[in-house]
């Protein structure tokens, strides 16, 4: 197989891609899904509480707030600037920690503490910031809590639904970019006769199929990566995440090419993807319902790419912890190659007979 010819076909597909509705749909869908699901279940429109601090004496409180994930901290030099930003609702609250504040608190002097609250800030943010400030001062003082709070969780324990929906969004990114784009591109070439026009040149069907597979792999990997980024699920191991989504893209694209070779026209393509829909989608349901027996998810092929994405990107595990899943995913990808070769022979005979 000539890599040069594969590259030429791929370059043509990349040039034609943005002119295809499927290509554009595959780009837009993860953005829209992220927006909709974050709006419905997430925190997209309820941002973190924003606290400004003017620290005149390197207080331990500032260091404590810096270490808190749930608070958006801004350090300022000037008290007036802090006041202005709180008034303008650029910050929800502002804290002025004078020089010697920590020492005074520890000595039991009860020094004054100025705490600005923005009138337009969300009530929930005001409560969070006020309680946090009081807790931190008490901690600094070394005193114990006045009461013991018994926290009772209602609803399901574990990760919030907005996080558990991330595999669903990633699944759609993989299906659209990895399955639909190469599959529909191949079917379109068959329907328009352009595939046959290529096959009477030095190009072989292996060049065309390899180009479609690479197109789907790269596109799916990029879209899955971008989707995870949009959902703030890339974590610190983004290189590991990219390797995982690349393998995920490779399997998705191989499924797309297989369906594309099998389907003689767009109707069959859509019917096949629809028919396979639940079979492909099933593993993502188990992330939404963690109480279900998780072993069932392993029956479905896309589990072996969704699970590594979940573990490495969302749970922050290293790539070595999902080597088995990735090996199975690569194995399924390779196992589909003979099927594609066999179907490609049938496809060429069918096209010639038309």
């Amino acid at each position: 197989m000539s890599f040069g010819l594969t590259w030429k076909v791929l370059r043509k597909d990349l040039a034609l891609g943005p002119r295809s509705p499927f290509f554009l749909y595959a780009i837009i869908l993860p953005f829209v899904l992220t927006l909709v699901l974050q709006f419905a279940f997430g925190s997209l429109f309820s941002p973190q509480p924003r606290l400004g601090i003017v620290d005149e004496g390197s207080s331990a409180i500032t260091a404590q707030v810096e270490g808190m994930d749930g608070i958006d901290l801004t350090l300022l030099e000037d008290t007036e600037e802090l006041r202005t930003q709180v008034e303008a609702n650029d910050l929800d609250a502002g804290l002025i920690l004078p020089a010697g504040f920590d020492a005074a608190v520890k000595a039991g002097d009860k020094p004054d503490l100025q705490f600005f609250i923005g009138g337009e800030s969300l009530a929930s943010n005001r409560i969070i910031l006020s309680v946090t400030a009081i807790d931190l001062v008490r901690e600094l003082e070394g005193g114990s809590a006045l009461v013991a709070v018994d926290v009772v969780d209602f609803g399901e324990a574990g990760l919030p639904i907005s996080v558990r929906l991330v595999p669903v969004i990633v699944f759609y990114a993989l299906v659209m970019a990895g399955i639909f784009v190469p599959g529909s591109s191949l079917v379109e070439e068959k329907e328009n006769g352009t595939l046959m026009a290529m096959l009477v040149t030095p190009v072989k069907s292996s060049n065309v199929l390899a180009a479609k597979w690479i197109l789907g792999t790269v596109f799916a990997a990029v879209m899955a990566f971008v989707t995870l980024g949009l959902n703030q699920a890339l974590g610190a191991n983004w290189l590991d995440v990219f390797v995982v989504v690349l393998i995920a893209g490779a399997l998705s694209s191989m499924i797309g090419v297989t369906i594309g070779v099998f389907a003689k026209d767009s109707t069959v393509l859509f019917a096949t993807v629809k028919g396979l829909g639940i079979f492909l989608f099933a593993p993502t349901i188990f992330y939404i319902f963690p109480d279900w027996p998780q072993w069932i998810a392993k029956i479905f092929p896309l589990y072996w790419i969704i699970e590594p994405i979940w573990q490495v990107s969302i749970m922050g595990e290293s790539i070595s912890s999902v080597w088995l899943e990735l090996t199975v995913a690569v194995g399924i990808t390779l196992a589909l190659v003979p099927a594609v070769v066999w179907l490609a022979r049938k496809m060429q005979a069918q096209m010639a007979a038309q």
Partner: protein
């Protein structure tokens, strides 16, 4: 290379039980246009599909430029140009992008796509997407794509089917130029005038078999009638007389009619290729 550019010996193909091509043989020399004349379903397109590697013959041998076509040889594919009956262009690409892409598949680094488009009268629309082209323009694009690699062998499947006379004439002129350049051309058509005008030799194909293969003149001579039709004014009506050119007394009768003041017209009654086809197969070309 010397010898025929296309050499076909007894190739056959069947779709299930239906035998589409039944062991046909012919050859095409470099610079020659062979017209494959036959009605729809006669086996013309199947023959082209076998020769261009789209399908393998069930039996027989075919060589393009001396190489066996069943070997799937990229060097042979690099030397052929194919104009399909179906217009299979990238509609979302411009005319220039289409040609440049196909040229790249042939390994042509700096294709002169604009010159090729100029030859078919599409240079001014080079940057327009093909979906905005008329049927005739798309067909000219098909022809130009078949020529992009300056092929030694050209397969043209119904290149002027359904086109207006002006576009058809332009395309025929371009095909002739390619043959003059030295390309061997296999032209399938069911248009007898096209076959007559373009072909150095004509093969009649019917039900998967070649029923006659010769120059158009020889076929007309062999199967046609050597006679003239004379039209004469006869009072208020017109009278026709057919005079065979062979036989006793025909020259004298012709001279007599030519001298008549009532003579209106004299026409030779040369057989058309369609007449000959009907005589040989019992069916017309349009069917």
């Amino acid at each position: 290379m010397t010898g025929p550019a296309i050499q076909v010996e007894n190739i056959a193909y069947s779709y299930g039980d239906l035998q589409a091509v039944k062991g046909i043989s012919f050859d095409v020399q470099p610079g020659e246009i062979l017209g494959f004349l036959g009605p729809n379903g006669a086996g013309k397109s199947t023959t082209i599909k076998m020769l261009t590697g789209q399908m393998s013959p069930k039996s027989g041998v075919a060589r393009i430029l001396g190489r066996d076509i069943t070997k799937d040889d990229p060097e042979v594919q690099a030397q052929i140009g194919v104009c399909f009956e179906e217009k299979n262009l990238y509609l979302n690409m411009s005319a220039l992008e289409n040609l440049d892409f196909y040229a790249s598949l042939f390994g042509i680094k700096d294709p002169d796509s604009m010159e090729v488009l100029r030859r078919v009268g599409l240079a001014e629309r080079a940057k327009d997407r093909v979906h905005s082209f008329s049927k005739g323009m798309r067909q000219r694009m098909m022809i130009s794509r078949a020529f992009i690699n300056k092929p030694k062998v050209l397969f043209l499947d119904e290149p002027t089917d359904g086109l207006d006379p002006v576009t058809s004439a332009q395309i025929r002129a371009t095909i002739k130029e390619e043959a003059e350049r030295g390309a061997a051309v296999l032209l399938t058509t069911h248009d007898m005038f096209e076959a007559d005008e373009l072909s150095d030799r004509v093969a009649f194909i019917n039900d998967g078999e070649i029923v006659a293969l010769d120059t158009a003149d020889n076929l007309k001579l062999k199967y046609g009638t050597r006679s003239v039709k004379v039209r004469l004014r006869d009072g208020d009506s017109v009278r026709e007389e057919h005079i065979a050119l062979e036989g006793d007394g025909s020259s004298a009768r012709l001279a007599e009619l030519a001298a008549s003041p009532n003579l209106m017209t004299i026409h030779t009654e040369e057989a058309t290729l369609e007449n000959i086809f009907i005589e040989l197969t019992g069916r017309g070309l349009a069917g």
